[in-house]
Symmetry: D2
Subunit: 93 residues, 4 copies
Amino acid sequence: MKRSKPGSTLFSNLNTIIMWEEINNSLYKKFEFKSFSEAFGFMSRIALAAEKMDHHPRWTNEYNKVEIWLSTHDAGDVVTEKDHQLAKKIDQL
Amino acid sequence: MKRSKPGSTLFSNLNTIIMWEEINNSLYKKFEFKSFSEAFGFMSRIALAAEKMDHHPRWTNEYNKVEIWLSTHDAGDVVTEKDHQLAKKIDQL
Amino acid sequence: MKRSKPGSTLFSNLNTIIMWEEINNSLYKKFEFKSFSEAFGFMSRIALAAEKMDHHPRWTNEYNKVEIWLSTHDAGDVVTEKDHQLAKKIDQL
Amino acid sequence: MKRSKPGSTLFSNLNTIIMWEEINNSLYKKFEFKSFSEAFGFMSRIALAAEKMDHHPRWTNEYNKVEIWLSTHDAGDVVTEKDHQLAKKIDQL
């Protein structure tokens, strides 16, 4: 498992939260960008990945911030392998 | 059940909530579409309108649903004329 | 010249060219919208459909106009069933 | 003026053409990305910038490639300051 050590620069991107967290049966992560444009470019790419997997996030955007919750409706709104897959794809964008 | 009265054009779209509501110092409206694709096409057009006005919504999407909250940060997170303008533009999409 | 027969619903959209044409081993169609916003909303939805099918168009946009050429690279840049499928999906948007 | 010296790595991004070229009264540049997703994320951000400036490109996309032509219709389809501004914004994305 990856760990974020003190002083680690592994996760030195713009994200305010380093790892996906499991909160209330969802994988959750908050991303922060420099501008709305950058945030929306990111959202466009997530939309493509989500539609391709037929697995769509719940997400909130406000200016340069994007919050994402992933859970699998068909499985009773719990976290499944599909959510981990989409989380991984999002991190690779 | 909803009924569309003769002459009324209020109910001619897919929106589940007809009018913007003022909730907690925000203009709020929920939209519902047939698919994620339709919802995201709508979001893309809102993004263009918002960037043009330099006035960005807080919004949440989950598959075919889009919820939007409009308020003006610079004015202390209250509803201003800018919010009404963006609300009107969104309704015209 | 193309004619719209009485009772026909074929011509009820904004498209300037009604049917896909096969030109130089591509399916070609030109769409015309009211605004850039409308054209780009349409393009966003095509992008989702194309990524889902793993079959991407060649397309040109200029303000309110979108031109699309569909052909299958893997088959030697000729028109295949995949192109007809994507054309049909685009028409359904 | 910027010059691309032989061996220079100043422009070591993914673009196949380093500078905007003036071709047939348009500023022209070709961009190449790793995937359609990356190309479309880029296009989404250009769409926002273009709509904000009320100055829209002619552009062609095919999978991971984006070609852009900028000229000013109102000035008789020649290259103006507006085109240089949008070109600069696109390069900053």
